[in-house]
C-alpha cells in the first residue's frame, strides 16, 4: 500500500472526488427538485420558491382516477412480484442444478427481455395481446411486466445460489431428504433473503414501468401511465406529488430488499482452522 500512497497526488484525488460529487448532483438534481416542488405552492414551479404547501398532494388525493391508478399499480405490482419471483426462482435453480442441451438458449430467454426497448415490447405486446383478446385489461399489464421482471428475479436468486456450498443439496439428499424435501428444507431457506429481495425489486420495477403499461393497459391505467397523461397535458406540479409518493413506496421496497440481501446473508465459510 505504501507505493500507492507515495504515488498519489492530493490535488488529483480531490479533483476526482469533486467530480464524483458533480456527477451525483446531476443524477439527483431532478429527484430532489421533484420532492422540493411537490411541497411548493406555486402553479408554475421555479425559483424563487413560493410557500410550503400540501396543495398538490391534496389535488392528487382528490382525483379519483389517481386512486384508481394507484390501486391498479399496487395490485398489478404485487401479482407481478409473486409470479416473476416464482418464475425467476425456477430458472435460477435450473441454471444452478442442471446441465442440458440448449441451456444457453434457455438462459438467453430467461435474461434477454429487459434489453429489448420497452417501446418495442409495448408494441409487440399490444399487437399480440389484442390478437388473443387479452389487451386493455389488468392481466395484460401483468403478463407483460412479468416478462421483463422475471429476469431480475432470476439474476438476484442465481447470485444467492452461487454462494451456496455445492455439497449442501447432495448432503441433504444423503441424509434422507428427497429432492422435494430438500427443496423445501434446504434450498428455499438458504435463498430466502434473495427470494424476498427479488419479490420487492420486481414489485418496484413494475411500479415504475410506464411504457409497456401505456401500450397495453387500456382503461386500467397504472399510476405511471397516469403521470404520462399529465405530462402530455399541461405542465402540472401534481406530477411531483405523485412522483414523490411513488418514490417513497419504491425506495421502501428497495431498502427492505437491500437489508434482506446484505444483512441476513449467511456468513461465508471462510474459516481457516
Amino acid at each position: 500500500m505504501n507505493s500507492e500512497q507515495i504515488n498519489r497526488s492530493r490535488t488529483v484525488d480531490w479533483t476526482l472526488r469533486a467530480y464524483i460529487v458533480l456527477a451525483y448532483v446531476f443524477v439527483f438534481a431532478p429527484i430532489a427538485a421533484s420532492f422540493v416542488f411537490s411541497l411548493n405552492s406555486d402553479r408554475f414551479p421555479s425559483i424563487p420558491l413560493g410557500s410550503v404547501s400540501l396543495d398538490w398532494y391534496r389535488a392528487v388525493a382528490a382525483d379519483p382516477l389517481v386512486w384508481q391508478g394507484l390501486g391498479n399499480t399496487l395490485m398489478i405490482g404485487l401479482i407481478v412480484g409473486v409470479v416473476s419471483t416464482f418464475l425467476g426462482f425456477g430458472a435460477a435453480y435450473t441454471d444452478y442444478r442442471y446441465h442440458f442441451f440448449g441451456k444457453q438458449a434457455y438462459l438467453a430467454l430467461a435474461l434477454l427481455p429487459p434489453t429489448i426497448p420497452v417501446i418495442i415490447m409495448g408494441l409487440a405486446m399490444l399487437a399480440f395481446l389484442s390478437r388473443v383478446d387479452l389487451s386493455g385489461r389488468a392481466i395484460s399489464v401483468i403478463i407483460s411486466h412479468v416478462v421483463i421482471c422475471a429476469p431480475f428475479a432470476m439474476a438476484i436468486i442465481r447470485l444467492r445460489l452461487s454462494q451456496m456450498d455445492p455439497a449442501l443439496e447432495p448432503a441433504a439428499w444423503n441424509l434422507g431428504a428427497s429432492e422435494w424435501a430438500t427443496m423445501w428444507h434446504v434450498i428455499v431457506p438458504f435463498t430466502k433473503p434473495a427470494i424476498f429481495g427479488a419479490l420487492f425489486i420486481t414489485m418496484a420495477v413494475s411500479f415504475d414501468e410506464f411504457a409497456i403499461a401505456w401500450f397495453v393497459s387500456g382503461l386500467n391505467e397504472t399510476l405511471p401511465v397516469k403521470v404520462l397523461g399529465f405530462l402530455q397535458g399541461q405542465v402540472s406540479p401534481r406530477i411531483n406529488a405523485i412522483g414523490t409518493f411513488v418514490f417513497v413506496i419504491s425506495m421502501t421496497l428497495v431498502i427492505v430488499a437491500q437489508v434482506l440481501l446484505s444483512g441476513r446473508a449467511a456468513p461465508k465459510s471462510d474459516e481457516k482452522e
Binding site: A167, P170, L175, A177, H185, V186
Partner: protein
C-alpha cells in the same frame, strides 16, 4: 480375523461421457472395519465413495449392501451417510437442528429427535453448543457436528470424503484419534477417502490404493508399506528405493537382477511366482533399511557407489539424497546418531548397501 462382508463392489465401472472415472473395480468392505481409499486427485476415489453413497450410479457392475443390490437406490433411500470435505453443514439451522435433520426426514417425532440429537452431541462433546449457529463454531467443533449429524441415524456404514483437509496440522492429528476411537467404540464401518498417506496409514485397518480408476493394492498398512505390489504403489508411497533390471537368475526364494549400476540381489523371500530369467523385474528396498558407509562393506552383496546430492532434516531423522554414477536416485532415512562421522557435503562419495533379505520384489513392474 475374517469378518463378514458388508459391502461388495462387483465389476463396477463408472463413465462420465467419454471419461472413465472407475474401471472394472472389485473389492469388499468388511463389517466394522476402518477402510481408507487413497490416491491422488482424479484417481476415482471420490467417485467410488459417491457411488457407495448413492450420489452416482455405476455405469456397469453391481454394488451390494448386506447382500442386496443398491445400484439404483437414490441416496435418500439408503442409510449411507457421508461426511463432506466442506462438511456441508446447513448454515440456516443451528447445531441441534443440523443433527436432527436426518431424523426429521425419517419422520421421527420432535421429542425423540431432540433426545437422540442431544445424545450424539453429548457423545461428541459439543452439547453445550447445541443452540449455536454454525458460523460461531471453530473448525474442530464443526467437524464434530458433521460427524454427529451423519451418525445420529446409527448407520452400519459411514462415508468420509477428506473431512480433515481443511484443518491445521495439530487439529488434524487430534481429530484422527477422535475418528479412530469413535470407529472402534461404535463398531460402524468407516470408509475414509483421502489423499494423505499419513491419515490413511495411521487410522485405517485396510487401505485401498487407487490410480487412474484402478485399484493398485489392497492391504493392511504394514503389508502395503513393506511389500508394495506395483511399481506405482512404491512410487506413490515414496518410502522405497526402486530398481528395475533384467533377471539374471530366479527361484522361489530369491532373485538376482542386473541393473545399470550392477547386480542387485533378493534372498530369503517366498515368491509365489518367481520372474522368468531374462524378463524385466523391479526390486525395492525401504529407505530406512538402506545404509551408508565410507568404504564398501567387505561381505555385503547389494553395494552401490553413490554421490551426495542433498540432505533434509526433519526432527530427529535426516533424509540423504544420493545418486549412482548411472543417475539412479537413492534415498536414505536415518536418525542423526547413525550418520555421525559420515561426510555428507554435496559431491562426497559414499557407499549405499542393504541386506538381500530386505529387498522386495514388486509383482507388476
Amino acid at each position: 480375523m475374517q469378518r463378514d462382508t458388508l459391502v461388495s463392489i462387483e465389476g463396477v465401472i463408472k463413465r462420465f461421457g467419454s471419461f472413465t472415472a472407475v474401471r472394472k473395480m472389485d473389492f469388499e468392505i468388511r463389517k466394522g472395519e476402518f477402510l481408507a481409499i487413497m490416491g491422488s486427485s482424479g484417481c476415482g476415489k471420490t467417485t467410488t465413495l459417491r457411488m457407495l453413497a448413492g450420489l452416482e450410479a455405476p455405469t456397469e457392475g453391481v454394488i451390494r449392501l448386506s447382500g442386496k443390490p443398491i445400484n439404483h437406490l437414490p441416496t435418500w433411500q439408503r442409510d449411507t451417510p457421508m461426511v463432506w470435505q466442506s462438511l456441508a453443514l446447513f448454515p440456516f439451522l443451528n447445531v441441534r437442528e443440523n443433527v436432527e435433520f436426518a431424523l426429521k426426514m425419517r419422520g421421527v417425532g420432535k421429542a425423540e429427535r431432540r433426545r437422540r440429537a442431544e445424545q450424539w452431541l453429548d457423545r461428541m462433546q459439543i452439547l453445550e453448543f447445541s443452540e449455536r449457529n454454525i458460523a460461531q463454531l471453530s473448525g474442530g467443533q464443526r467437524q464434530r457436528v458433521a460427524l454427529a449429524r451423519s451418525l445420529v441415524v446409527e448407520p452400519e456404514i459411514l462415508l468420509l470424503d477428506e473431512p480433515l483437509s481443511a484443518l491445521d496440522a495439530a487439529l488434524k492429528v487430534r481429530m484422527q484419534s477422535v475418528l479412530k476411537n469413535l470407529q472402534r467404540e461404535t463398531g460402524i464401518t468407516f470408509v475414509y477417502v483421502t489423499h494423505s498417506q499419513s491419515e490413511a496409514f495411521s487410522m485405517a485397518d485396510r487401505v485401498v490404493i487407487m490410480s487412474r480408476g484402478v485399484i493398485e493394492q489392497i492391504g493392511t498398512p504394514q503389508e502395503i508399506y513393506g511389500a508394495p505390489r506395483t511399481r506405482f504403489v512404491a512410487d506413490f508411497l515414496g518410502s522405497s528405493n526402486i530398481f528395475t533390471g533384467k533377471v539374471l537368475a530366479a527361484s522361489d526364494s530369491g532373485v538376482q537382477l542386473e541393473t545399470a549400476d550392477g547386480p542387485i540381489v533378493l534372498k530369503g523371500a517366498r515368491l509365489a511366482q518367481p520372474p522368468r530369467q531374462g524378463a524385466t523385474a523391479t526390486l525395492t528396498v525401504l529407505d530406512t533399511k538402506t545404509h551408508l558407509s565410507m568404504t564398501p562393506p567387505p561381505d555385503a552383496t547389494n553395494v552401490l557407489p553413490v554421490r551426495v546430492i542433498g540432505e533434509e532434516f526433519v526432527g530427529a531423522t535426516a533424509t540423504i539424497y544420493l545418486e549412482t554414477p548411472r543417475g539412479q536416485e537413492i534415498r536414505v532415512q536415518k536418525g542423526h546418531e547413525d550418520l555421525v562421522g559420515l561426510p555428507l557435503d554435496i559431491g562426497e562419495t559414499l557407499y549405499a548397501h542393504w541386506a538381500p533379505t530386505d529387498s522386495h520384489l514388486v509383482a507388476e513392474a
